[in-house]
Every structure is written in C-alpha cells, then in structure tokens.
C-alpha cells in the first residue's frame, strides 16, 4: 500500500506516555485559570504535588538555576519510586538515587561522579538512554499537545535501540526519521529569578526547556529568588517565560539553586560541588544526606545552619556580572 508508513526500528525502552486527550482533559479540569494566590513553602508544595511513583522533570541544572531546595524537600519527604527525567542533569540524579527516591531514569545526561555510575552498574536504578536533544524534543511534543516529535538524532546508534523512540520511513522525504514520544511529566520543578504569587515567572539567561517543561507537565512547582508584583509582568510582557496558568505552586526560595548559582544573584559553591561529586560509597552518601537534608527541617534552616551568611555573602560577591540579568 502506497500510504502505509513503514516502521523501520523500535527502541526497547518503557515509556511514560500520556494520551494527548487525557492531558487536555487534565488541563481543562485541573489547571486553574483564575488568578489564585499560589504562594507556599517547599514543604507544602512538595506534599501537595509530588506523589510516590510520579514522573518528575526539572529545569535548568544543578550548576545553574536548578530547583535544589525542592529536590532536597522531595528527599526530605522520602518520596519513592520516582521516574526522573535526567535532561542536562548533573547532580539531581545522584542525590535522588542516593536517597532511594528513584526507580527509573530517562537519560539525556545521567549525572556526574562515581556514585550514580555504581547505582546503574549494580542495577539498582533502571535507565533508558536518549540524549539531551531527544528528551527535549519529547517535552516539546508534550508541550504542543501532540503524540510525538520527529527528529534526526539518535539514528543508527545503540542509543536509539535503548530509547523509547521509533524510526519510520518519512512519507514526505522518504528518508528514515526518528519519532520520539511526547513526554508529559506528572510534575516538574523549575527555579526562576522572578515570579508573582499567581505563578507568572521570568527567567534571565538561557532557558534550556523552561517553558516546554512547564507546559508539558501536569503539575508545576516554581521556586523563585524573588516574588514580584504582577504589574512587572504587564510592563514587560516580552519577558514572561512561563504564564501563571501552567503553574500550581509558587515557592519563595532565595538561594533556591544552592549549591548551584542563579544568574544575577549568586555564583555556584564550587567547594560544595567537589564534596558532592567525590561521594563514592553508600556511607558517604548517607552521611551527606543526613547532614544537609534530613537533619534540617527546611530550606531556611539549611541556609542558616549548613551554609551560613558568610558563605552566602561570598557567593553573592562572586556574582558580579549583571549584563542581561536585569
């Protein structure tokens, strides 16, 4: 048959997939279009919107503008059986796996250091390999409300075999093309520079997939360095990265990306990173988690007792480049 689309290859991975109409109905019924004050702390936001077994995505990364206070809160609440999107990740997977929160990881970039590598080598965490680009295209499809995105990456590779993509013969060009299934995470956590109490959010700097991640996800928790008035968004509508109706919770989280940096606010804490990336053994990991996550009640206490004003002041001082971030 002339019109039959030929499937040339199927990747092996299990996929988290939501039918586009199911997602539309969720948006219709569960996403509030009213201007509702969504301000709450990490504890309440995670309790309300992150469930055991959820598919979790985040943006940007643990070095830059990553939602680290929310990651720590997810660990503190000992969430279980998460399926995590490791898109452009660095240390989020390391911590979540160390805390036993994660069962499965879709990999753009697995993460740094010997600890997470060992978890995969031992089979303690199940992984599915893609690439940063293909997982981002999955989010783009999820954000557009379509079931897949065609693209020309992963073709011919073992990565394709282990992914959730398929290869078809494109009916237009007649060449093989990859189709990546849409990704609609149950929940995403995103750190931004500025947000209002309704969830309008503004990011300065490169965005990775901020808007796509928010649009594609059923529930969205925004953490922000500053809470600003809504009029600020109306004055510069071009600068709105995520509109309020995508957002379910807004957390005011100064230094929310620590030990990473947030552009225009503070630099990353390189010493703390070194401590994290050098974790090898289970014992070292559990000691780290006890000291920096479990033994403090919340983000404020973490900053006060585990980081300290002196260190925070140094990180602000190291962040002197403001061009583009105001």
């Amino acid at each position: 048959m002339e019109d039959y689309i030929e499937v040339l290859q199927r990747g092996k991975a299990d996929i988290h997939f939501v039918h586009p109409d199911e997602f539309r109905k969720f948006v219709r019924d569960k996403k509030n279009r009213g201007l509702e004050d969504k301000l709450m702390d990490e504890k309440e936001a995670v309790k309300k919107y992150v469930k055991d077994g959820d598919y979790l995505a985040y943006d940007f990364s643990s070095l830059t503008r990553g939602p680290q206070s929310l990651i720590r809160e997810i660990i503190r609440q000992r969430k279980k059986n998460l399926w995590v999107l490791a898109k452009f990740t660095l240390l989020e997977t390391v911590l979540l796996a160390g805390a036993g929160c994660v069962d499965k990881i879709d990999i753009g970039f697995l993460g740094f250091g010997p600890y997470i590598a060992r978890k995969v080598q031992e089979g303690a965490v199940k992984v599915y390999d893609y690439s940063n680009g293909s997982v981002t295209y999955r989010l783009v499809a999820g954000a557009m409300g379509i079931p897949f995105m065609p693209a020309r990456d992963l073709l011919g590779t073992d990565t394709m075999k282990q992914s959730g993509g398929i290869v078809i013969r494109d009916p237009f060009s007649k060449i093989p093309v990859a189709l990546f299934p849409a990704l609609n995470p149950d929940v995403s956590i995103i750190h931004v520079q500025e947000a209002d109490i309704y969830g309008n959010a503004r990011v300065y700097g490169p965005t990775v997939a901020t808007l796509e991640t928010a649009m594609a996800s059923k529930r969205v928790i925004i953490s922000a360095e500053r809470i600003i008035e809504t009029i600020e968004f109306r004055e510069h509508p071009n600068w709105t990265t995520v509109p309020y109706y995508c957002v379910d919770a807004v957390v005011h989280a100064p230094f929310g990306a620590y030990p990473g940096g947030t552009q225009g606010y503070y630099e990353m804490d390189a010493d703390h990173y070194l401590k994290l990336t050098s974790i090898k053994t289970e014992e070292e990991m559990q000691e780290y988690l006890e000291e920096y996550v479990y033994s403090v009640d919340n983000h404020e206490e973490f900053l006060e007792k585990r980081v300290g004003v002196k260190r925070l002041k140094e990180l602000i001082q190291n962040s002197q480049i403001l061009e583009g971030y105001r």
């Binding site: 940007f60 990364s61 990999i107 060992r118 690439s131 990456d153 011919g156 073992d158 965005t207 583009g324």
Partner: protein, 267 residues
C-alpha cells in the same frame, strides 16, 4: 630549546588550529570549551560558539570556570540566549559548521561511545553519563571534531555502545540510516596525533603525529590498525604564545590543562 607541555595542552592547541574564522561551532563540555576560547583569542576572533543549553555566540570570560555550563562567565556577551530546542534546531537545519566532542571509545568509522563499557546494557562494567548533547552534535553538525586521550583501549573495532554516530553504523552509511547528508566526523585529535577519514572507505586515517614521535609509536598505542596517509605530517608542539594564553589567561589554576602525561619536545 625544549618545550614542556601536557597531553591536554597539545590536544587543545592542535584542535584550536583546525578551526576556521567566521564559522559556527557547537561546543561540548570541558576541553572543547577551552579549545574554543583559545581559538577565539589567537586564531579565529570571529568564531561563533554555540552551546546546547541555549547560548549563541558568547565571548566567554576568562579564567575559564571548570564545570560552568550556562553560568554568567560562560554565556557572557552572547548574541542570543535561547532554549535547548532552538540551539539543537539551529544545528539540525544546517547552521552549525563544526562540532567538538570528547569520547571514551572510538571505532574505525568514528562512532563514539560515551555511555558504557561492557556487553550487558542493563549491568554495565563501567557506566558513563551518556550522550548529553553529544549525539545531536555528531548527528547534525557539518564537521565534527573529536578530542580524546590517545590510549590503546579507547580505539576499538566496534564501540561497546555507539552513543553518537560516525560515518558507518553497523555497515550502513549515514544517509542510509537517515542522518543529514554530507555531515559527520571530520578529525580526531588525540594526545599523540591527528586522524581524518578516508574519502572512499570512510575509515579512520592517520594524518599527523606530534613532533618527536614516530608513526609506529602512535600506531602501537591503538587497539585497531587505522589507514595511514601517504605523507604523515609532523604536528607542531604548543607554541610559547599558545601556552602563555592557556596557562596565564584561560586556565591559570590548571583545572583542565594540567591533566595527562607530560611531554618534552625540542623546538
């Protein structure tokens, strides 16, 4: 007079000399970032760096911050900040001339492994971070340059896992599997030499060796036998100016450039 330098310094300098001015380059994490900064400072002032997280044309600040990927010094004075979707789409549609990547393993056709060592995907002997944006760089850029340490175990007949595509994928050409035509690996820069790919067979071909090394010494350190060009050129060691720029301006703490074996070569 002698010049002393590390493996990494030689690779960085040799790779920087390969780039062309007024072209775009997709830059991977780590060593490629330093290559691009060195090239911009000494050889190709109008080269436009492109980063996967969504920075087009930054003029990265020095000293280079190791680990930075998207922070203010790495994205300083960009022409555009955008999303990852767009950064890769610029490459997919054909705007990006060069790509630069590292690799754990490489095979005869320039396929790259950055995922795992072993033969069981579910229980790898060694697990690496995986593709990151490497697959897109190797799939989409017109010419990909691979920069890697020259070690026997890294050159294999077939990668344990093909993360990113070379010129032939289990017998099929790039076009046959659907990859963009006329793209693919262009050079492999190692700590001992430089390789290209044969125009006809697309096999790895030794083009040059570091001054002071023989062709046999370079071939002995490989797990496969590559083709050898008729006239293998002698590659200059790092120049005084290159080393000064690397050591004083770009990486004064030696976070990247101090890695690897040390070489001494007569000037």
């Amino acid at each position: 007079m002698e010049v002393e330098f590390t493996d990494t310094e030689f690779m960085i300098c040799n790779a920087a000399r390969l780039l062309e001015d007024n072209k775009t380059i997709f830059v991977g994490w780590g060593v490629p970032q330093v290559v691009a900064i060195l090239a911009e400072k000494l050889y190709t002032p109008n080269i436009v760096q492109v980063f996967e997280f969504g920075a087009i044309g930054p003029q990265s600040r020095t000293p280079f911050l190791r680990g930075t990927m998207g922070g203010p010094s790495n994205t300083y004075r960009s022409l555009q900040w955008c999303s990852m979707n767009l950064a890769f789409s610029y490459a997919q549609v054909g705007y990006i001339d060069y790509g630069m990547l590292g690799a754990a393993q490489i095979d005869r056709y320039g396929n790259i492994n950055s995922t795992m060592i072993g033969d069981d995907y579910s229980r790898p002997k060694v697990r690496f971070p995986g593709s990151g944006g490497g697959n897109e760089v190797a799939s989409y850029c017109w010419k990909t340059i691979i920069v890697m340490a020259h070690e026997k175990r890294r050159f294999v007949e077939r990668c344990d896992f093909i993360t990113s595509p070379g010129h032939k994928l289990d017998g099929k050409t790039r076009e046959e599997v659907g990859l963009p035509a006329e793209s693919g690996p262009f050079r492999v820069i190692t700590s001992k030499g430089m390789f290209g790919f044969d125009e006809e067979t697309k096999e790895l071909k030794l083009l040059g060796v570091l001054r002071g090394l023989t062709v046999d010494e370079v071939l002995d350190d490989m797990g496969i036998e590559p083709l050898v060009a008729e006239n293998v050129v002698e590659l200059d060691p790092p120049t005084a100016q290159e080393l000064k720029t690397l050591r004083e301006e770009i990486d004064p703490y030696g976070l990247i450039i101090s890695k690897g074996a040390k070489f001494k070569v007569e000037l």
